[in-house]
């Protein structure tokens, strides 16, 4: 089977990372998925329908906005924001869910399952499924349901069934476990719509391809505005979908520094953060060989982050590979620094970011000061902050 993207080899690996560490029952559906994706991703009518949906339903292309006030106050490189927060649903997740829901429809699957952490992928799945006439069921950790109540309500309004997950740490990791268990049980009629560039091959490739529209647009836009490439591109990394989506088009532009920003939580003690690439080690979880937060016996550690969407102990395998080659640098930003960045973008630009990209923004604000004013940097503003207002309000009482 031919896989077009250079970084994936024929065994679904990125370097040594990735692979298919799954129960035997999932080998057949993964093979079917790979074949269907291979066919439809080259099919002009599929591509046309997806393009239409991305434009007229999701709201693409998204603007590249020069954050003038932030830039002026920092006196460093110009800060551009790739406005994925303006997409339907309020995050980049819809790029992937429309693509995969369309694929599921072509494969004749009517029942869609998905996991969600912050609820953004669940909402985007519910939307795509409603639009395409598919039935969706969403697994969400009980703990995440508590801290993202608004998104639970939105999913239900959009026609999805939400299943609380009470196993393990009751967050995103466990929602993925439960989704995989559902999939082995209902494998014949069910499509698993994974929400990040994680999991067994071919998911990391499929999700990256559907998200790479972010980087394609951003690269054109910055060249049109600045007539040169940016000095750096910065994105937050949970599972790694918005980041791989914006990085991918810049991987061969070696003069562009790429930074992935993970959740530094309270501090870098085990259990206090979710920075798998910065502080983890190699291991296998959710079907992939990647970087993982684990104890010395290989038990997966609990994670903690103020942003539910980054609260995941592993990371997509392509990021593990990009770390090993040194092409992308990975950093951790603490809860408090992310909150500060949230506040600064809100009052200086009138844009409330989601707490996830607030991590990326925080690092960008530091980085910008190091570069001359003639340079530019791009931050992937992967989602908007409405879902986080309650959490933020607790930290900044009026």
């Amino acid at each position: 089977m031919k896989i077009r993207q250079a970084a994936t080899n024929s065994r679904g690996r990125f370097g040594k990372y990735g692979g298919q560490y799954v129960p035997e029952t999932l080998m057949k559906p993964l093979q079917d998925l790979e074949e269907a994706y291979d066919e439809y991703s080259r099919d002009p009518s599929f591509k046309k329908e997806l393009r239409n949906l991305l434009e007229s339903y999701a709201g693409r292309p998204t603007p590249l906005y020069l954050a003038r006030n932030l830039t002026r106050n920092l006196r460093g490189a110009k800060i551009y924001l790739k406005r994925e927060d303006l997409l339907h649903g309020g995050a980049h997740k819809i790029n992937n869910t429309l693509g995969q829901a369309l694929l599921a429809g072509r494969m004749g699957k009517k029942r869609i399952i998905a996991e969600t952490g912050a609820g953004q992928h669940g909402v985007a799945t519910a939307m795509a499924c409603a639009a395409l006439g598919l039935q969706s069921e969403i697994y969400m950790g009980r703990e995440d349901m508590e801290r993202q109540k608004l998104n639970v309500y939105r999913m239900k309004m959009l026609g999805a069934e939400v299943h609380p997950v009470d196993s393990g740490s009751r967050t995103l990791k466990d929602a993925i476990n439960e989704s995989l268990r559902d999939w082995v049980t209902n494998v014949e009629n069910t499509y698993y719509l994974l929400g990040s560039a994680v999991g067994p091959h071919p998911y990391p490739t499929i999700v990256r391809d559907f998200q790479s529209i972010i980087g394609k647009e951003a690269r054109h836009q910055i060249l049109a505005r600045e007539d040169k490439l940016p000095r750096a591109v910065i994105a937050c990394v949970g599972g790694g979908s918005n980041s791989i989506g914006i990085f991918h088009q810049f991987l061969h532009d070696l003069e562009v520094d790429l930074y992935g920003v993970e959740a530094g939580g309270q501090d870098i003690q085990p259990g206090h953060h979710a920075a798998a690439l910065v502080a983890g080690s190699e291991g296998v979880l959710h079907g992939m060989l990647t970087y993982l937060l684990q104890d010395k016996n290989g038990q997966v550690q609990n994670t903690r982050s103020i942003s539910a969407g980054l609260d995941y102990p592993a990371v997509g395998p392509e990021h593990a590979y990009l770390k090993s080659t040194g092409r992308v640098k990975y950093r951790a930003v603490s809860d408090n620094d992310a909150l500060d960045a949230f506040k600064r973008l809100s009052d200086q630009e009138g844009i409330m970011p989601a707490l996830e990209p607030a991590h990326a923004l925080s690092y960008a604000l530091k980085l910008a000061k190091r570069y001359p004013t003639s340079d530019s940097i791009i931050v992937n503003l992967s989602g908007r902050g409405d879902k986080d207002v309650e959490i933020v309000a607790r930290h900044f009482p009026q």
Partner: protein, 281 residues
């Protein structure tokens, strides 16, 4: 197979020898599973002995993992109990060593990739061999996922028991049959482990599919949801060489956490009933 060949193979391949022996007695194998260190290391030891006293032909010990995606709530809970009681991979291996010093029953370990990788596969297999382990089952390491893994196991005389699922296509099934060592683990339903009232609806069809291409007569044992003597009898009658029972036994532990004596008695009794159902007369 001639008598002498069977004798020389005895030490290196205890699982294969066990199936030979049972075939000559016209019995199927009863393979009984417990999670290592559940509910505590001490009680585990007594429980594992109860399986042998009840008549288990092969004992399977689980090394708990925090994220057991192939397991249902019963084995998830047992893994959690064992981890909470402080169990580690090393401790399960030493429990395995104690077990094999005491019992002449082939021992198989069941775990996920990550605990093995965390120890280092080579070291894991070396210690496993020294602890008297004959085989491993790793549900998230399907055939071909990592050829190195199987090489390291066989270098240490450990069988790698592969799984076949109801939806495994024929070409892949042939490869799995050729590569598995010890026996083939047939998944008898679509789903995760857990006690069931009825036998997995895909069990007999899958068994038939395997039998039709199983030229070398690799032993085939069915598991996932296999819970009652009736299930076992049906499988053995349909040509399975063994039946694997896990959650139904772990459930007994879960239901008798406050009464260790009764726990052991019931395990022994249930295993004896299951074993009886493997006899073809």
């Amino acid at each position: 197979m001639s008598r002498s060949l069977q004798d020389t193979s005895h030490n290196e391949h205890p699982i294969a020898s066990k199936f030979e022996e049972l075939r000559s007695r016209r019995e199927g194998a009863l393979i009984a599973y417990l999670t290592g260190g559940d509910p505590t290391p001490e009680e585990f030891h007594a429980n594992a002995s109860a399986l042998v006293e009840g008549g288990a032909d092969i004992v399977e010990i689980g090394i708990p993992f925090s994220d057991p995606i192939a397991d249902g709530p019963v084995i998830q809970a047992s893994s959690q109990r064992a981890l909470t009681a402080g169990i580690t991979t090393k401790k399960v291996l030493s429990l395995a060593g104690e077990f094999s010093a005491q019992h002449d029953v082939p021992l198989v370990l069941l775990t996920y990739c990550n605990p093995i990788l965390a120890m280092g596969a080579e070291r894991f297999f070396q210690i496993a061999q020294r602890s008297g382990v004959s085989g491993v089952v790793v549900p998230d390491m399907p055939a071909n996922a990592d050829p190195q893994f199987h090489k390291l196991a066989s270098k240490n005389d450990i069988d790698t028991i592969l799984l076949a699922a109801p939806n495994t296509p024929e070409t892949r099934l042939r490869r799995i049959l050729a590569e598995t060592t010890g026996f083939l683990y047939l998944v008898s339903l679509y789903g995760v482990t857990g006690p069931r009232k009825t036998l997995g609806p895909q069990a007999l069809d899958t068994l038939k599919r395997v039998s039709s291409i199983n030229k070398r007569r690799t032993p085939v044992s069915a598991g996932f949801g296999v819970s009652t003597p009736d299930h076992v009898r049906t499988l053995i009658k349909a040509g399975a060489d063994g039946a694997i029972v896990g959650s139904a036994l772990v459930q007994i532990i879960q239901d008798h956490l406050s009464n260790a004596g009764e726990m052991e008695e019931l395990l022994k009794k249930h295993v004896a009933e299951l074993k009886h159902a493997t006899r073809k007369f």
